[in-house]
């Protein structure tokens, strides 16, 4: 029998609201606002209030999938990345670098987002960079 709250930062946008994940016996069951946090001051938006919902959701992807013969199949990260690299390379060659856009995410760290824009500009050669908070 165990109930605690674990404070973390909301994964959904760049505001940085703190929230508490309510955990019963190791299972995340809900969210509470962080009442003494200087950024969110005990409030959350609808996304923050539901930030726990995807963690254990049955639809959540746990492995990369590649469609083979019309069927999605679980594959290794290596195989998935190879396919992405190969296809991005051929699109870039055929249609030019600006035919590719890169969408980053507020769910990533600053450093991960930095890497992705670097990848877009220095590797692919495009300034087409945007992020999920504007979708």
């Amino acid at each position: 029998m165990d109930y605690k709250n674990i404070q973390t930062i909301c994964p959904y946008c760049g505001c940085g609201c703190a929230l508490n994940l309510e955990v019963i016996d190791g299972e995340i069951v809900g969210v509470l606002p962080a009442n003494d946090h200087p950024v969110s001051q005990g409030s959350l938006c609808i996304k923050g209030w539901n930030a726990h919902a995807f963690v254990g959701h049955e639809d959540r992807l746990k492995k990369p999938l590649i469609r083979k013969n019309g069927q999605l199949e679980e594959v290794s990260w290596n195989e998935a990345l190879k396919l992405v690299a190969k296809n991005l390379g051929s699109i870039q060659k055929k249609h030019g670098a600006d035919s590719i856009g890169v969408l980053t995410s507020a769910k990533c760290t600053n450093e991960e987002n930095y890497l992705l824009q670097k990848f877009a500009r220095a590797v692919i050669g495009t300034n087409n960079v945007d992020h999920c908070a504007r979708l």
Partner: protein, 271 residues
């Protein structure tokens, strides 16, 4: 006072399976289930959370557990309303009641800042009860405000709402699994601000005979909407019209709860 609370919790933990209270860690304070062996130096009283709601959640999850809860006046009133609606089992709950200070009562416009533990067996009160604080000035003067101004006031307030459902999610006496606020029949999905005044009147109407004035909704509202002005007014009307005071008496059933047997007696309808 905090030492007295911690000592009481330590004493009760020898008899109970766990006690719901606030625990402060380096991240901040949040509800926690204290058990024997936990560091009670981490038990604190602020900032406020609806611990009655946590107690209900844990009672439902741990059906045989005998739990305790450290509760302020509003928490106890909420426990009473929840017990009437089968969301709390009073026989499996021991209350460690803690009085609020005059400053806390004033901040909350709380008329009853000391927990009433008469109906909670095995419970203890810690702290000196202070007198109730005056009501919110808007509530006190509301009767003098012309209707058109009232309408304009609420319209301006509710236009700020961005429908986070936080006021519902934090509320200790909101517990329905299917909520009318999420039913497209009543509230159009995807509309921001939500329909005025439908969304907020549904919430206010559902708080009739339930709202215990804990102010948690108002503190959670990112738009600073004075929600409890509305709920305080509703509570006043209910007290005046039918004499029902939420949180006062665990044995008095809420007036809107009627059984089929009552309905049969009262009804003149021909079927």
């Amino acid at each position: 006072m905090i030492t007295e609370i911690r000592d009481k919790v330590a004493e009760q933990l020898e008899k109970l399976d766990g006690i719901v209270a606030l625990r402060s860690t380096e991240d901040g304070a949040a509800p926690y289930l204290f058990q024997q062996g936990d560091n009670l130096e981490e038990l604190v009283m602020n900032p406020r959370y609806p611990l009655s709601k946590t107690a209900s959640k844990l009672q439902k999850r741990f059906k045989d557990a005998k739990l305790g809860v450290v509760a302020r006046g509003c928490d106890v009133r909420a426990l009473v309303e929840m017990a009437k609606r089968n969301q709390i089992d009073p026989d499996r709950l021991v209350v460690i009641g803690v009085t609020c200070t005059s400053e806390e009562a004033e901040f909350c416009f709380c008329a009853e800042p000391a927990p009433n533990l008469d109906q909670w067996s095995g419970s203890t009160l810690i702290g000196e009860p202070v007198p109730g604080a005056p009501p919110n000035p808007i509530v006190a003067e509301y009767a003098q405000i012309p209707y058109a101004e009232r309408w304009a006031f609420w319209k301006a307030q509710f236009t700020k709402c961005h429908k986070c459902f936080g006021c519902r999610d934090i509320c200790p006496v909101c517990f329905c699994e299917a909520c009318a606020l999420e039913d497209p029949l009543w509230v159009e999905p995807g509309l921001l601000a939500p329909d005025f005044p439908m969304y907020h009147l549904i919430k206010a109407q559902h708080m009739t005979t339930r709202c215990v004035g804990c102010r948690q909704c108002e503190m959670a509202c990112p738009a600073d909407i004075p929600l409890t002005v509305l709920y305080d007014l509703v509570r006043q009307d209910v007290a005046e019209l039918i004499g029902y005071v939420p949180g006062a008496d665990i044995n008095e059933m809420p007036p809107f709860t009627l059984t089929l047997a009552d309905a049969a007696i009262e009804s003149d309808l021909v079927y």
